[in-house]
């Protein structure tokens, strides 16, 4: 980035003022999080007494881990997230390919029907989807949590845009070589869309790792609950108000995503950008 990048960047006092305000807001933004870390890593008597000499401890994490089946909850979440993602990748790829590169009657209407889901998300259709899951016998199963999300309008939209940007010549060249349409998809389109896939995967994983209301409704046993619901059950019933332990459990359930985010910060941010710009 050259020095002349932005002539309107403030200088002198203006710049100092801007830096100070930005840092103030930044400090304000991390404060609740830092407080949570403080509470989780200290004995309960220090959770309201901020003292530099307070000894650090992992006891809260150990207590939380032993007090509820978090290992099982994690397993459920990992199963859920990977199942949803795998299904989404396959279904959205096929649908996006059809919408981007095939001429067939009803294409525009079907695309419009796909886009309906951008507004009418499974998140708000909880009453009817619960009914459907009862009929299908999928209540209180991981498949029941994931199924309504597997055909994703957002993913289809994103991939359709990407596929449309692939030069026709590559497609035709592959056909001349004797590839079937599915081979063309696999050998030409999918490799070229890798950044989109990465972006979509990160957005999807963090969405489903964090999803709460629908899993809360559709599950009622340890065998199916994801961590978000497990955390809620744990902190509302088992613990009374031992904040150190609840906060430790909260950080525990968030840790994998948080660590992944800190490690792959750039990819995360770029993925969210890419997913947004369409």
């Amino acid at each position: 980035m050259s020095a002349a990048l932005n002539v309107y960047e403030p200088r002198g006092i203006g710049r100092a003022l801007e830096t100070a305000s930005a840092w103030l807001l930044g400090a304000l933004w991390v404060l609740p999080l830092l407080y949570a870390f403080w509470t989780a890593f200290h004995a309960p008597e220090f959770s309201t007494r901020l003292s530099l000499t307070a000894p650090l401890t992992l006891a809260n994490f150990v207590t939380a881990w032993q007090a509820a089946p978090f290992a099982r909850y994690f397993l459920n979440t990992v199963l859920l997230v990977s199942m949803v993602l795998a299904a989404q990748l396959v279904l959205t790829t096929l649908a996006a390919y059809a919408l981007a590169r095939f001429e067939f009657p009803g294409r525009n209407m079907l695309f419009a029907l796909v886009l309906v889901q951008l507004m009418v998300m499974p998140d708000v259709l909880i009453v009817e989807n619960y009914r459907t899951m009862s009929v299908l016998g999928l209540k209180d199963t991981i498949a029941g949590i994931g199924l309504p999300y597997m055909a994703s309008a957002f993913g289809i939209f994103l991939l359709r845009q990407t596929f449309k940007g692939v030069p026709r010549e590559l497609d035709e060249a592959a056909r001349v070589e004797g590839c079937t349409p599915l081979q063309v998809l696999w050998k030409v389109y999918v490799p070229l869309a890798r950044p989109t896939y990465l972006a979509y995967a990160l957005v999807s994983v963090s969405y489903h790792w964090n999803n709460f209301l629908w899993p809360l409704i559709i599950t009622n046993s340890v065998e199916a609950r994801p961590v978000t619901v497990g955390l809620q059950v744990f902190s509302s019933t088992d613990q009374g108000i031992d904040w150190s332990i609840i906060t430790a459990a909260t950080l525990l359930t968030t840790a994998p995503l948080l660590v992944a985010f800190l490690l792959f910060q750039r990819q995360f941010v770029q993925s969210f950008m890419r997913a947004g710009i369409r």
């Binding site: 002349a4 990048l5 932005n6 002539v7 309107y8 960047e9 930005a22 807001l25 930044g26 400090a27 933004w29 991390v30 609740p32 999080l33 509470t39 959770s47 396959v90 959205t92 096929l94 649908a95 059809a98 095939f102 001429e103 067939f104 309906v116 507004m119 009418v120 499974p122 998140d123 708000v124 259709l125 909880i126 009817e128 989807n129 009914r131 459907t132 309504p148 597997m150 055909a151 289809i156 056909r175 349409p181 963090s206 964090n210 709460f212 209301l213 809360l216 409704i217 978000t228 955390l231 809620q232 906060t247 950080l251 968030t254 995503l257 948080l258 941010v269 969210f272 950008m273 369409r278």
Partner: protein, 291 residues
């Protein structure tokens, strides 16, 4: 490839996704409409057609009206603030101020946390007498206040949480838009002698319009879609002060098991989302210049 093959391929490729969409989006939306004209099956009694009874109940239900008005206030209170903060954050971390990498991280981190974890963290933050907020106000000699437990501040306290969670998410989109802007625009304006504010108002802001629209639509949807924090922090209380529409649907449908009335309430929510979609399509898209 001949035409028929094209058709068959197109339909077959689309079929699996379309079937799932039909089952979990289109069918439930229509079934929901149908069930909103029926009674809730109770005991051995099957559902019967009751016409607009559920909607009459809805019109006469003060909690519904409170949930609707709370939700509108919640939207009005969170969306402009989080968007303005998002823009400010984006402008700041776009400039080369010291430590902007860390700042970007600080602003964005709340976004990737589950709302449920965020709610737990803030619940403690707000706790009367123990929470950090109380310790802070106490240090200034202010009287103790139950932020989530009193009718006048509970919704506001939740709004703060939402702004905290969402501003960093919206910042990303503004940042992306700012970074894609040509630096020559600034050079040209500077030669003409435009002030920084003038340049922002007449050049940057209009160019950010598509981003603003995108963020706005997302923010409105989120204001009606995300109620995880209500479940953890207030359960709609005190005295329905934080009752939001989707949370009310959840309570009616899954705590009182009145699925017919919940269906009627869901129709209202779908209506609101429909209005957002139409507004986006007819009104806003035309006013925004896309490249």
């Amino acid at each position: 490839m001949n035409r028929t093959t094209q058709w068959v391929y197109g339909w077959l490729l689309l079929l699996p996704a379309m079937a799932l969409l039909a089952l979990f989006t289109h069918y439930p939306a229509l079934a929901n409409l149908w069930h909103s004209f029926q009674s809730t099956p109770k005991g051995g009694q099957p559902a019967t057609f009751v016409g607009i009874d559920n909607y009459q109940q809805l019109v006469g239900d003060p909690i519904f009206w409170q949930a609707l008005s709370n939700n509108l206030w919640y939207a009005v209170g969170t969306i402009p603030v989080s968007m303005a903060l998002a823009l400010l954050m984006a402008v700041w971390v776009n400039d080369r101020i010291p430590g902007r990498g860390i700042l970007r991280l600080a602003f964005f981190t709340p976004t990737i946390l589950p709302m449920i974890a965020v709610a737990n963290i803030w619940l403690f933050f707000y706790t009367p007498e123990y929470g950090l907020l109380e310790q802070f106000t106490g240090a200034f000699g202010l009287p103790s206040h139950n932020w989530l437990g009193s009718k006048s501040t509970a919704l506001g306290a939740l709004m703060v949480v939402t702004v905290w969670k969402e501003a960093g998410f919206f910042m990303i989109f503004y940042l992306a838009a700012l970074q894609s802007m040509s630096p020559h625009l600034g050079d040209a304006a500077a030669i003409e002698g435009a002030s920084r504010w003038y340049f922002f108002r007449r050049v940057t802001w209009p160019l950010l319009m598509p981003t603003t629209l995108f963020v706005l639509v997302n923010a409105v949807i989120n204001a009606f879609r995300l109620v995880d924090h209500i479940v953890v922090m207030t359960r709609g209380g005190p005295d329905n002060a934080t009752e939001l529409l989707l949370f009310y649907i959840y309570e009616i449908g899954f705590r009182f098991w009145d699925s017919a009335y919940a269906a009627a309430l869901t129709m209202v929510l779908l209506g609101i989302l429909g209005i957002v979609a139409l507004a986006q399509f007819f009104f806003l898209e035309r006013k925004v210049h896309y490249q």
